[in-house]
């Protein structure tokens, strides 16, 4: 967790890698998923239901996936940043038993404190989720973005 240091737009470099993290999708983590998202659609917690629908096993739901991306971005941007937009595509299911890694890098710096980012979730088999996002960061002149626009 890197939240303690506020990030300013001036110090960001295009191509800069974010500190990512990994999570093992144990049965316990899948239970935490249902608790944390309150998403009780059985394809995310009932293996028989998931297999009957043609899936290999239960898999992460949308709210967990976007929560991972949000954690990555909000840790990186610090307390004065504002997450402006997030777009993601789920290309492959993240199945119980896998370990996911959440990664990101700065794609483009834009005026008025805006930074475009690409982020993704990967397993040893490749990217399962691809994402783009924009964050608003304060500038050294002291403009805070945390209230959004």
């Amino acid at each position: 967790m890197t939240e303690t240091v506020g990030r300013v737009w001036d110090d960001v470099r295009e191509g800069e890698e974010m500190a990512g993290f990994s999570l093992e999708l144990t049965a316990t983590r899948m239970v935490l998923q249902v608790s944390g998202t309150q998403d009780v659609y059985p394809v995310h917690h009932d293996p028989a239901f998931a297999r009957a629908a043609g899936h290999a096993d239960i898999f992460l739901n949308t709210a967990f996936i976007r929560g991972c991306l949000c954690r990555l971005l909000t840790d990186w941007m610090g307390p004065d940043g504002f997450l402006k937009s997030l777009s993601f595509q789920m290309r492959k299911p993240n199945l119980m038993g896998e370990t996911i890694s959440v990664r990101g890098r700065v794609k483009k710096k834009r005026p008025e404190g805006r930074v475009d980012v690409e982020a993704w979730i990967e397993t040893p088999g490749g990217a399962t989720v691809v994402s783009t996002a924009s964050v608003l960061l304060p500038e050294k002149a002291g403009v805070s973005r945390s209230e959004g626009r």
Partner: protein, 165 residues
């Protein structure tokens, strides 16, 4: 009777639901559960009462209790489709205002498009795009979310349909 995608499009595209308020205000405990599932130790969320941006639709929803459809699921379920299994393929968010513990959120949903295109799991898959507008207690828009949903049949349903044909 054959599935009539043209009639479904005509009836459902641009359909909007009324504004419905979340069952509960923005509360700390669900925010902490969200953080715990992700090992997210961010003090903005765990201690300071800021709502993680991706949780705004959670608090704008009636939630799954009592066991029922919620968020866009009742809307999706209302749209006639050959199958009833859902996969959320993609999502987009844009945020306009921060949300804090104590805020009250509500949402309205709109069907942006419905079309039919076969997929590997089901040649009769239906693609439904929705837009959700989330507002706070002042009815200021805090976020807009779009979803691309795929609705498909189970392998058993496809096999049964094939054997009948």
């Amino acid at each position: 009777m054959a599935y009539d995608i043209k009639a479904v499009k005509q009836q459902w595209e641009a359909h909007e639901t009324p504004l419905v308020w979340g069952r509960y205000p923005v509360e700390h405990e669900p925010i902490r559960r969200h953080c715990h599932m992700l090992d997210d130790c961010n003090p903005r969320f765990l201690q300071d009462g800021q709502c993680p941006p991706v949780m705004v639709d959670f608090f704008a929803s009636l939630g799954p209790w009592p066991p029922a459809d919620y968020d866009i699921f009742p809307l999706i379920a209302s749209i006639p489709t050959p199958g009833d299994r859902l996969i959320n393929l993609s999502q987009e968010f844009e945020w306009f205002r921060p949300v804090r513990v104590g805020d009250r959120l509500g949402a309205r949903h709109k069907v942006v498009s419905v079309h039919q295109r076969g997929t590997k799991p089901d040649p009769l898959s239906v693609w439904i795009k929705t837009e959700t507008t989330i507002v706070n207690q002042h009815e200021d828009v805090v976020a807009v979310r779009t979803n691309q949903i795929l609705v498909h049949r189970t392998p058993e349903e496809i096999a049964a349909e094939t054997s009948r044909a």
